[in-house]
Amino acid sequence: MSIYKHSYRAYMGTLTPHWSRIVVLARYALAEAWSSKITIALFTFSMLPAIVYLVGIYLANNPLASALILRGNKTGLSIDAAYFLKMLEGQSWLALAITAWIAPRLITFDLADNALPILLSHPISRFGYVFGKFLALIASLSLVTWIPCLLLFAYQAYSSPQPWTWDHLSIAGGLLTGSLIWIALLSILGLALSSWVKWRVVATGIIFAAVFVPAGVGGIVSAVMRTKWGLLLNLPVMMTEIWQRLLGAPSVMRPRQDLPNQAMATMLVLACLVSVAMLNARVRAREVVRG
């Protein structure tokens, strides 16, 4: 089949391995996500806090600059687990905003135009399809979460005049683990919610609502029932607790409101399972008519 002849020729070349089809999906999903100027704007905006924290580390480790700018006042500039916790929290909530924008772009275009029958008629499974999109989202969110956090950790390790790194290595582990838990949860939740809505704007709203509405409900439950268990519905509080424990930062919760690790892990696993069930119901090549 050549353009000038307009005739058909069979393909005789080699085929790529099966696993690489997931990479193809991820590559096209990334291109789709980053083709939007709003994505670029959100990403740029999400780098601003990282720059502020970078300056903070610079000032904390540079006595001359610190003396000139802070005039010797170093309050709040000790570079420790609490410092990185604040940074991780900020970056994580920016990651939520990016998820709410990107995740619908990855799925709703396919659903709105009924592309799944064609996509899944190729040698790619439903799991492969979702996993490809998941990888694209994880890669995008990594750019605003654990990558800048670990880069700043590395900068702090480099800048610190005292031996600092080995004593604080758990912070790096916490940053990586905490970020990965959060972006994996956001990715699967974002894809699942997007798969049920054909309009992107609505999907964006639903993703925010899925995080904050249960938090409100959990608050009401806690207040009415006078129990701490309502906090299990409060994703912001629960994640802050998880990050704080992973980084080894001082707790911000009142002593009686501490949630057990098992309960928090169970809630996260439940949220993921519900998301998987939602994706399983929606990502199909054909609707099955019952009855």
């Binding site: 353009i3 058909y8 790529t16 275009f109 592309a115 064609i118 899944l120 008629s121 190729h122």
Partner: protein, 317 residues
């Protein structure tokens, strides 16, 4: 071994048996899939693509199990679904390239063949336009292009002329005929339009209520049929009919010089003209009628599905 084999294939969806014990072998270059709404045509296609697991029996494509080896089957299959199915905010080239890469072509090859496939189906000039700006006919063509781009061994077309105007339909039919003529691709074409199947296929599988009503080689069926001829004549038709009977034709005379003939295979219209000239009879009108696919289809519908659980039955024509 045929390109598609079915062995007691049964598919149940939502508690309902949609395909009921299909057994048969499809080995034509282009196989038409006919049947009324709800007969199971699309379900059969989806089962061959591995979307639905058989509840009983099995189906195989290229000798590979349709469910167990679905990834390998899909590598060699191009599928054009019935309904709109594309990514509207991609342009034609990007969409076809994406599908070719998913089918296993390296990125460079996929891009090259995406351009070629779009030119081949006639969308060369529109290939950089976003698909959601395409007309219905162009959307059908871009679906065909993506099904062809990776060089499949089997092309499955579900209602390829759905919603097309006569010109676009003709172009689609011509393209399908060219693909068939080229010879390296087998075709499975599902359509409600008997004419589409008639013009493009050499074998037809007719489904009714999830069972096989008929599986026929269209060309062979036609060849085995006798030719019916209707004549309007002026002149000595009695003598003419005697001579025509002498050629081996069955002949019936009606008032007004009308004659109906059943001609044996070796007799052609020229022989009738010759006899008419000899007898001084004018042939004012001549109408040759062969059994059409419509006749085959209607007979299959009247006969109904085979009573032995969908076992392949050739229609007695």
């Amino acid at each position: 071994m045929g390109i598609i084999d079915m062995n007691g294939l049964e598919v149940r969806l939502g508690g309902r048996t949609v395909l009921n014990g299909l057994t048969g072998e499809l080995k034509g270059q282009a196989v038409g899939l006919l049947g009324p709404n709800g007969a199971g045509k699309s379900t059969l296609i989806n089962t061959l693509l591995g979307f639905h697991p058989p509840s009983k029996g099995s189906a195989s494509v290229f000798g590979l199990d349709a469910h167990r080896d679905r990834a390998r089957i899909r590598e060699g299959v191009g599928y054009m679904p019935e309904n709109d199915s594309f990514i509207g905010n991609m342009n034609g080239v990007r969409f076809v390239r994406y599908m070719a890469e998913l089918a296993g072509l390296p990125a460079g090859e996929a891009l090259e063949r995406a351009h070629e496939a779009l030119f081949y189906v006639g969308l060369g000039e529109a290939r950089y336009r976003k698909i959601n700006t395409y007309s219905l006919g162009m959307k059908q063509l871009v679906k065909l292009a993506q099904a062809l781009a990776h060089g499949p061994k089997l092309l499955i077309l579900d209602e390829p002329t759905n919603g097309l105007d006569p010109m676009a339909r003709q172009r689609m039919i011509q393209t399908i005929q060219e693909i068939r003529k080229e010879g390296s691709i087998r075709l499975l074409i599902s359509s409600h339009l008997l004419r589409d199947i008639d013009e493009t296929c050499d074998e037809v599988l007719i489904l009714k209520d999830g069972r096989i009503a008929a599986l026929s080689n269209i060309e062979e069926e036609r060849r085995s049929n006798r030719n019916f001829m209707e004549l309007e004549t002026v002149g000595a038709i009695e003598q003419f009919s005697v001579k025509v009977r002498g050629l081996g034709c069955e002949c019936a005379i009606y008032p007004g010089g009308r004659i109906k003939l059943v001609m044996p295979e070796q007799i052609v219209a020229r022989d009738l003209y010759r006899v008419a000239a000899d007898e001084g009879v004018q042939i004012r009108r001549m109408h040759l009628r062969r059994d059409s696919l419509e006749d085959i289809f209607l007979r299959a519908m009247e006969n109904g599905p085979a009573t032995d659980g969908g076992q392949l039955t050739n229609v007695d024509l």
